[in-house]
Amino acid sequence: MHDLIQKLTALPWDQSPQWLFLIPAGLMLLAAAAAVALRNLIHSALCLTLSFIALGVLFIALGAEFVGFVQLLVYVGAVAMLIIFAILLTPASEVSASNNPFRSFKLSRAVNAVAGGAVVALVLAGLFTAIFFSPRVRAAVPSPNAAAPVALIGENLLTHTLLPLQGTAILLTAALIGAALLAKEEKES
């Protein structure tokens, strides 16, 4: 009987129709666009958080449970909060429009639009190149069993990718110490 129940209540991702993919994806894009467009910084940050969440859901929908949960844990739990904290801790006068550093670029709207468009085009081009020409992405197959990826990822992290892992760790520690030093110096002055 247990098997029956488990079969019945198993995650139905495999059988779900393809168009369900559009919900988190659309939400993610919309939230990202809103994050750029909204005037209120906190609203932008919250929209960014929403887009992180949608991205996490997308990963999970694709069968990458582990990556999806880590995405939620790290990006929603830590990065989004960090951004919000940074906004809250920055004095209002420094982010107000009056002393916007980009104001000194006295360029016409047209030039602005062209420059912005160029940047967007470049980013999109880079993304599409990565997607279409990267052999790994094309070769990605849904994992055969659910439990394996976690163990595999763990093993990989501590064997093949040990050096990058430790490098990242050192980088983060350095950033942490730097932040602490900065904060301390500010306090003394």
């Binding site: 209120n40 906004i87 209002a92």
Partner: protein, 382 residues
Amino acid sequence: MSFPPHTSLFNEGNGAGAQTLDVSLGPQHPSTHGVFRMNVRMDGETIVKLQPVFGYLHRNHEKLAERNSWLGSMPYTDRLDYLCPITNNWAYAVAVEKLAGIEVPERAEYIRVIVGELTRLQNHTVFLGFILGDMGSWGSALMYAFREREKILDLFEELTGARMMVNYMRFGGVRCDFPVGWLEKARAYIETYPAFLDEMESLLVGNEILLARLQGVAPVTAERAINAGLSGPVLRASGVDYDIRKVDGYGIYPRLSFRVPRGEVGDCFDRFMIRLLEARESIKLLQQAFAQIPAGPIVNPVVKQRGFKPPVGEAYGRIESPKGELGFHLVSEGGEKPYRYHIRPPSLINLTLLEEMCLGSKLADVMVILGSIDIVLGEVDR
């Protein structure tokens, strides 16, 4: 900081750290012990400025007393420090007795000591509960304290007819004698009190969180405490050996043996502990008074309570109320009403150091510091 509509909550300023937050704590705030208000300026959660605002409970007590007869002010004194009405009565009676040179019968003095020390006991007990409430432990300590206070109030009700607004003291004595069986009941009750204090002690003293919250918070040096005019347990916590019961020796206190505890550091923990230790001394005093109380009149029969007219003159009478030095300064023109009636309330004077004690500590400490001073707004605002 970008805030939703209208204005920013923070004070704008130049440079880092200028972003402070002004918060008005009170007059309707859960832990300002009544209608006290503090305008607090905070940098993060650290207090950089604190301005106490009081007067929300002002009742024009001193001016009213100049309209009332001498006796008519007695019930009003109940409302000063409404946690310990009997000691307020006592202070007023002491001042009038000093003004008119009235002798108090021996039995009356013993009764005064008994009810006064019971008052001190319940005040200090309730203090232990309230300061725990200020620290966020709603309930247990406060409820235990109130349970015991309730029993003392029951004793007061049997004796005086009211639980809080007792109107008990009279010039030259007290209003009524103990009813039958009261003394035995009070004695039996006091026997159980040390056990209760032990329970409170094992609940509170030693609790690591409580220690961390109280120790090292807002220490006051002995010198500063004297200069600021502090009195009572707050002063003794700073290590000053000054208890009016010993210094003035009013009533029959010189006949009773008791010790005056004093601290060394003068922080919130010392203020907390002094109350606990004083409560234990009060029990000793009560036991002695129960054993020694003589028979006799309870009020000086010469004194006419109604239409009381003291001779021309002025007097300052004071006692050691549970909160500190409670004094009444009275000026008489020989009439039926005082010419001037002034109170020195310990709560108000002890509050003068509030800002100094709070600067640099955290928002949560403000409540604990306020609690450790042990104020009652009825007395602060009068």
